[in-house]
Symmetry: C2
Subunit: 154 residues, 2 copies
């Protein structure tokens, strides 16, 4: 356990918050991977595209902006998902540069099967926190995201 005094002068990596956040994010990703990877054959970019498009169809650029992934990463994930017939793209007549990305029937089936499992996995993870701990942690998350401008939609 790593409760650390604020005014430390010597650097211990396992007490250094940026490192701890990286390590935690990696750990949580692995904790989730069992769902979308082993069971549905999706990698992280593909999973994020599915999750974004699942609620409402949108453009590749919108996916990139809201997931904060590089547009090439999004582009490649879309190509792969399209090859698996999980998503499809419809040309927009008003602006023929962009294309509307949406789930196919098969994509919707996968989506409605996947989402509850992912949410349950999140719930199981957060269940290790007492209610007030959870609240405090999420509040800290909010403030840090806001400080770094991560939730802004440019």
């Amino acid at each position: 356990m790593n409760g650390r005094p604020a005014a430390e002068q010597t650097l211990e990596l396992s007490a250094f918050v940026p490192f701890r956040l990286n390590r935690l994010a990696t750990g949580v990703s692995q904790y989730l991977a069992a769902i979308y990877q082993a069971r549905f054959g999706l990698d992280i970019p593909q999973w994020r595209v599915m999750a974004t498009v699942g609620e409402t169809a949108c453009t590749a650029q919108h996916i990139a902006a809201s997931t904060r992934m590089h547009k090439t990463r999004v582009s490649r994930a879309i190509v792969e998902l399209e090859a698996r017939d999980l998503i499809e793209r419809a040309s927009n007549e008003r602006d023929r540069r962009e294309r509307q990305v949406r789930l196919t029937k098969a994509g919707q089936r996968l989506y409605t099967e996947l989402v509850p499992l992912a949410l349950e996995r999140e719930r199981a993870l957060l269940a290790c926190l007492a209610p007030e701990q959870l609240h405090g942690f999420l509040q800290g998350l909010d403030v840090l995201e806001n400080f770094l401008g991560l939730d802004a939609q440019p």
Copy 2:
């Protein structure tokens, strides 16, 4: 801001804690990169090796275990740092498989210059949290790490 009710049924990525943690970790890494990257020409693996070896000399395996990096990643970072004369390796007579990794004089100079900057940067980041918020957030971090077994030293 993303305070989210616990029992959601629809998945919105920007409210999904695993995604938020990944995004936050990436954001914090970039926030720190200005220090060790632009200013000292270190990438993340190199920086982690320096930080680990800085306090006390140790083996590559120990670095891998305490940073949770793959041993090949550690190995390559060590080779690069050695080429820059920031670290050196001493053969262990008792066990000639392993080698003790430690800072050179130049490495120590860089280290003593770098550490206060990194800690200051961490302090600046966490300063966006009110004292109790910080406490709550770190407590949540502790519990999650413990739940995922991230602080264990196998």
